[in-house]
């Protein structure tokens, strides 16, 4: 079934709001089918027939309904539309991308909130462990660098200082948990990704403890486990607890972020031209044709 698909801008007050699809049907069979169906489902949206121009509303897209380009044809489910030229093809992609990008930016923001809280928690924990390490080596000097509030004469300042570190970390864990619950309730992030993030945080915590305790065998076993789980990008874990934490969070969180957005939404950002493009069977940027593998 063939139908021509074109793009028209809808402008209000000179500002382009949305690009719309216009369908020109010149295939009898297609016309018959469409008329029988009354509506045409395109990009996950039911388009009422009889109108040449169709307003695309912002909605949640499902990766399965993404249109796929094959040469000059745009395939959506059982329908295929002829895309007259490259310019039109880009316009169509742009048209899809607008609501998708809106959604992506929203999820991006929400995800960033959880990631930032996770990163802050792990770095704060690293800071706490390094502080306790310094407390072990030189308790008095460390106590004066960071002064705990000791209320009675006989309180042990070291225990108070350690407790304050624990409380600070516990408060951040609590904030992170609240954020996770909020995101799950709002269906911004899916459960499996949240679990992956939780596992990563716990694993980094285990690694931090192993480095803190200077137990080489434990560092090695935790490192291997993380690597097997795809949570640790590198086998060797050197440097201070803080450096290690920074390295792991930077690498893992940015990778996970990208994966979540790409896979969950079916949209990727091209590392070559910087534009967003729909994931397609060609697996390359719609604009500059750079393969997505290179984007990784």
């Amino acid at each position: 079934m063939k139908a021509k698909f074109g793009v028209v801008d809808i402008a209000l007050g000179g500002k382009i709001l949305y690009k719309t699809g216009s369908i020109e049907i010149d295939d009898e069979e297609c016309e018959t089918t469409l008329k029988a169906n009354k509506t045409l489902s395109i990009f996950g949206i039911n388009l009422p027939l009889g109108k040449k121009e169709v307003y695309l509303e912002k909605t949640r897209y499902d990766a399965k309904n993404f249109p796929q380009f094959e040469d000059n044809e745009l395939k959506i489910g059982e329908f295929s539309f002829i895309v007259p030229n490259e310019e039109e093809r880009v316009k169509i992609t742009d048209m899809h991308l607008k609501p998708l990008l809106d959604l992506r930016f929203k999820i991006d923001q929400e995800l960033t909130k959880v990631e930032n809280k996770s990163r802050e928690l792990l770095l704060r924990r690293a800071q706490a462990l390094e502080y306790i390490d310094s407390l072990k080596a030189n308790p008095r000097k460390t106590l004066f660098t960071y002064s705990p509030e000791i209320l009675t004469d006989f309180e042990n300042p070291v225990q108070i200082a350690i407790q304050q570190q624990k409380d600070a970390v516990a408060a951040m864990i609590s904030q992170l948990k609240e954020e996770i619950i909020y995101q799950i309730n709002n269906q911004n992030l899916n459960q499996s990704n949240i679990e992956k993030l939780q596992k990563f945080i716990i694993a980094v915590g285990m690694l931090q403890n192993a480095v803190f305790e200077e137990k080489q065998d434990k560092i090695s076993s935790v490192g291997t486990m993380l690597k097997e789980m795809g949570l640790l990008p590198q086998e060797n874990c050197y440097g201070s607890i803080k450096e290690l934490t920074e390295m792991l969070t930077q690498q893992f969180i940015s990778k996970m972020h990208q994966d979540m957005l790409d896979v969950q939404l079916g949209i990727a950002r091209c590392s070559s031209c910087g534009k967003y493009f729909l994931l397609n069977t060609e697996n390359r940027c719609t604009y500059c044709k750079t393969f997505r593998q290179q984007n990784k």
């Binding site: 004469d153 070291v158 939780q198 076993s221 935790v222």
Partner: protein, 345 residues
Amino acid sequence: MPKCVNGHLSNNLETCESCGHQINLEVSLEELSEFPEVSVPWKESCVLTLGFPEPLMNDAHIIQIEKGDNIEENESLFRVKIEGGKTWSEIVVENKDRFKKWVRRTGFYCAKRKLVVIDTTDVLSPLLLQELSDAGNMLVVALSADESSNALEQNISYVAMSALKQKRLPTIICPKSYVDEMPFFVEDKELIFRNAFEEVIIFFVSALCDLITMIKVNQRLGVYFHYFYTIFSASDMVYPKPENAISFQLKQIQHVVKQKDIQTAHLLGRAEIGRHENLIKAFKKVFREDKDRLVNMSIRLFEKNSEYGLYDLVLILGVNEIYLSNIERGYQLIASKNPNLRVMG
């Protein structure tokens, strides 16, 4: 450490190593607020000094209070800014909160044994002694003003010693003029003249465990205050018999303490092993007539290798009260001019 749904600790993030059940990610996340156990190596002894240069010793942590041009505090120093001739009373008001916080943060109260060495004629001494708490296992070594001190020194010392008296802090006292007159030789490659009081403190720190035990026994018998006199590098040439040295010490202390008030007697010493028995006999001989009256007597001798046969003795006598009558004149004189310089509370 990850915890499974049944509460087992696990090294695995997928399933529990003990029961095979799933890991509880939420609980495991909360576990991150726990850190591995740590033991912090406090030195067992902490010495808080006022009015003396920092004694050189490695087996105790030294913290100091001193006067200066600026306020400063760190893990071992508390400096009070003294300008425009501040009185002890003004210093107490301005610095007491800061001082209390500082002492807590140094971990002084957490040390297993605490020694406070204080020159009570120092203008900072009322601050220290009024704000110091009795943390147990603590001993105050105080130099007191005496007749040779000026009125201002007597006033300050009187106030500081009154705080000791009021708080019943376990104390051993020595009049300051004795310390000033206390020459001391150290045996190195040759005999070196050194600050005697610094050596006394080093000796006290090395014997702190015994000293505190002795003081605690006395505390239980109601004896909180002690007077001491030291003879370091004593020799047979100066004291033909050890009882001569101990008797001399006793006489020196009796310039301040009345014989009838003495409740306990203790000898702390360092000498060659071969001399220990003689020292014990000498101590018993000197206090022969008092042994039925004294509630506690003890001797603790340490080994000392001496090329010249020198030995060190500290005689400590326990009494019921701190004697302030010899410095009351100076105290009253100053207090009559400025009512703020009276004993508080």
